[in-house]
């Protein structure tokens, strides 16, 4: 690795610089040959989609076709996507706890209670509205755009709003008073995120226990009408996605903005410099 460093870097730079125009040209050339966007005669519109459009509502009980495809026909993908979000939270937690450099202390202005009457009052009005709207988006995802993912993000944003205004929990070290956390702590957020994944996979495994395939909600003993059963189970997995996303949002914000020590999770420890 030693000697050809300089020349190697230049060659790499040239290759990289050549790769981007090549990629761009390739994409444009390929796009030009593709069927027109929105063309009703294109393979994407004629092969698989018609069944979704015609049968989704009757088969899955979800009026919103997007929800039907995401949560039911391709529910395994959505389980995977939820796991991707969970993985991002997990990675953030592991890596930021390990990152050297700055101590895990809140940046000035980011974590202390803001202490303003106006903000306090406005937050008291807004946060319940945001949280309620998040739950509405979750439940209404069957009919209108929305669902567990968007609802979870909104819910997480509400939690972040509380954190921004009222600050995280403090242990009380003389300079600062002891403050309880509003909303879940970092540990609580992690537990929420885990519970979401467990709930999703648990519903899938429950379907297996009743004789169906993994994630085949139709076999769950929740009623006689399979579409209705699927609708209920879809709501369940949307709630699970909601939990994971809201928890992960909390984990991400807390790890990034507050740090480990303040949130009461001793993840990292004192480290000596190495390099």
């Amino acid at each position: 690795m030693g000697a050809p460093r300089h020349g190697g870097t230049r060659v790499r730079w040239l290759l990289g610089a050549a790769a981007f125009p090549a990629l761009f040209l390739g994409l444009v050339l390929g796009m030009a040959e593709l069927p027109e966007f929105g063309d009703p005669g294109s393979p994407a519109s004629t092969h698989v989609s018609p069944r979704f459009i015609e049968d989704a509502a009757a088969e899955t009980g979800a009026a919103n076709m997007v929800t039907a495809v995401l949560a039911d026909y391709r529910g395994y993908d959505t389980l995977g996507e939820t796991a991707v979000i969970f993985a991002a939270g997990l990675g953030c937690l592991v890596i930021l706890a390990a990152a050297g450099g700055r101590p895990n202390r809140p940046a000035a202005g980011m974590s202390h209670p803001f202490g303003s009457v106006i903000l306090d009052a406005a937050t008291r009005i807004l946060v319940p509205v945001v949280l309620l709207f998040a739950v509405y988006v979750l439940i209404h995802g069957h009919i209108s755009p929305g669902g567990g993912f968007q609802g979870g993000v909104l819910f997480g944003s509400g939690l972040i709003m509380m954190r921004l205004v009222w600050g995280p929990a403090h242990a009380g070290d003389g300079q600062q008073p002891e403050v309880p956390a509003f909303g879940p702590s970092l540990r609580g957020s992690l537990i929420l995120a885990c519970a979401g994944i467990l709930g999703y996979a648990g519903i899938g495994l429950a379907a297996m226990a009743f004789g169906g395939e993994f994630l085949n909600y139709g076999t769950l003993p929740l009623g006689s009408d399979p579409a209705h059963v699927r609708e209920l189970a879809t709501l369940g997995i949307e709630a699970a996605v909601f939990l994971t996303v809201a928890g992960t949002v909390g984990v991400l914000f807390d790890t990034i903005s507050i740090g480990m020590r303040e949130s009461g999770v001793p993840l990292g420890s004192e480290r000596g410099p190495r390099e």
């Binding site: 040959e33 593709l34 393979p43 395994y76 995977g80 969970f86 993985a87 537990i191 885990c194």
Partner: protein
């Protein structure tokens, strides 16, 4: 049971990935037993599927009860169950090795029960992602699980702190680019054919054969997965990642990460897209790049002084060999490629567990640190020697048979590519002899006094590796020998499925 196993195989790792951090967060106790139990259960499911697919033929499993192009299908034949078995088995060893904790090299944060739980969760998530890639029959689902495995791998790579964070960042850049290219390719394929199911795709491809967008799609998919599989000019992320990853994770990532991507290449390019003109050309190019990678990886491995870095370059050489097999596509070559995946994963996992542990405990990565280890820990070093012999390709070990298959396939393929592949594999074996004998000579025939900067009083006599690493090292070496001795049954199991699979696809094509 046959009906339950596929679902369990893909569900258990994800359940475990949430369960283990949950237990750690709730009870703040060590999660070793829970994680090991889960890994053992996953391995049992993989073993059951392997046996079931061998005894009663391939299994098609419609997740959610939706078959064909509407839902997502899983597909378990001789090839996928073999790789799934490999992944699940290596994960058991890696989970055992995780008890070793972070490398004691002062940058990694000390282990707390919660942190341990998070890392065990990340390993389970990585296993879940890899098993998903192996099992799925859906090109978009493959992308989702590629992302899961990548994110979990970045976490594990970066968990060492210090340099490992930088290595993880480079890996992240390469991996994200690779994932995006693959996704672009899948988007093109979907726009062209309207389907994401691999069987459906293979059946519908001939109707869009003439379309230039198909060529773009094939190239995008091939380049994306080749980055992940560290095919020669796209291998830039690999050496640093393998070297700086904490030992327990390195043994797993070095053993199976790139292999699973190579398996995805085999599935997509070798099976589904092989019939297209672009696919055939890309496979031909892949042989030549594989040849270049085999030679370059071997030469650069000889040039390294640090043992783990030498192992990393030797992995690039091995990936080149596997992709030569994928590129040739004959039954013999595919057997060789799959067998080399297994042989190399077992041996490389063994070597990384051993070399990483020795690096951490002897406080250095140079060859001279290995001086005299043979007399201090004969069993561990004997195991590492077996793994090294397998990497070179000495007969009773697994490495000999995989190279034998690949060489036979090269002769059978003939032509300039076959000759080049044959010569490259022979040359790489010679180079491997050079660089592995250097280490083995230091370990067995030199005393620590020979080493330039030896301070023998600092090194206590006794076992070189702690039990969490010694058990995987010895266990994997035994497996290397067993796989070599029982090579024939594997071949009989894998080949017919490959031949019937390609025959089915070419029969469905009008």
């Amino acid at each position: 049971m046959r009906e339950l196993l596929p679902g369990l195989l893909v569900a258990l790792p994800l359940v475990g990935a949430a369960l283990v951090p949950l237990v750690a967060a709730l009870f703040r106790r060590t999660t070793r037993v829970a994680a090991l139990t889960l890994h053992a259960a996953i391995f049992a499911a993989a073993l059951g599927l392997f046996w079931s697919a061998a005894a009663a033929g391939p299994i098609r499993y419609a997740v959610g009860g939706w078959p064909g192009p509407w839902g997502i299908e899983l597909w378990f034949d001789g090839l996928s169950t073999l790789i799934a078995l490999l992944v699940a088995g290596m994960a058991c060893f890696a989970s055992f090795a995780q008890t070793f904790g972070p490398d004691r090299d002062r940058t990694a944060p000390a282990s707390t029960p919660l942190r341990e739980g998070l890392l065990r969760g990340a390993l389970l998530l990585l296993v879940g992602g890899l098993l998903g890639i192996v099992a799925t029959r859906d090109v978009f689902n493959l992308f989702v699980f590629l992302e899961i495995s990548s994110l979990a791998a970045y976490t594990l790579v970066a968990s060492g702190g210090g340099r490992s964070t930088v290595a993880a960042f480079r890996y992240l850049l390469a991996g994200t680019a690779a994932g995006s290219l693959y996704l672009f390719g899948v988007g093109f394929l979907y726009a062209l054919t309207g389907t994401l199911n691999m069987d459906d795709l293979a059946a519908r491809l001939p109707s869009v054969e003439a379309d230039a967008a198909l060529t773009v799609a094939v190239v995008l998919i091939a380049v994306g997965l080749s980055i992940k599989a560290a095919l020669f000019p796209l291998h830039g992320w690999l050496p640093d990642t393998y070297v700086y990853t904490p030992t327990p994770a390195a043994g797993f990532i070095a053993a199976v990460m790139a292999k699973v991507s190579a398996y995805a290449l085999l599935r997509l390019l070798g099976e589904v897209l092989a019939g297209t003109t672009a696919g055939a050309v890309v496979l031909e190019i892949m042989i030549w790049l594989g040849v270049a990678g085999v030679v370059a990886g071997g030469v650069l491995a000889v040039a390294q002084r640090a043992v783990t870095r030498m192992l990393a370059w030797s992995s690039i050489s091995a990936m080149g060999m596997i992709l030569i097999g994928v590129g040739m596509g004959s039954a013999l070559a595919i057997t060789g490629a799959l067998f080399h995946m297994a042989a190399h994963a077992l041996a490389k996992g063994c070597l990384f567990f051993g070399a990483g542990g020795i690096r951490a405990l002897e406080d250095g990565d140079g060859v001279d640190r290995w001086a005299g280890l043979g007399s201090r820990a004969p069993w561990t070093l004997a195991a590492l020697t077996v793994a090294a012999l397998s990497m070179i390709g000495i007969p009773p070990t697994a490495g000999f048979f995989s190279k034998y298959y690949l060489l036979s396939a090269s002769i059978a393929a003939g032509g300039p590519a076959g000759i080049a592949a044959f010569a490259a594999i022979i040359l790489s074996s010679l180079l491997a002899t050079v660089y592995f004998l250097r280490v083995l000579e230091a370990a067995w025939f030199r005393t620590p006094g020979d080493a330039p900067e030896a301070d023998s009083e600092r090194r206590p006599p006794g076992p070189v590796l702690p039990r969490p690493l010694a058990v995987p090292v010895v266990g994997l070496a035994v497996l290397v020998l067993l796989t070599g001795i029982f090579a024939r049954p594997f071949e009989r199991h894998v080949l017919p499925d490959w031949e019937s699979g390609t025959a089915r696809i070419s029969a469905e094509a009008p």
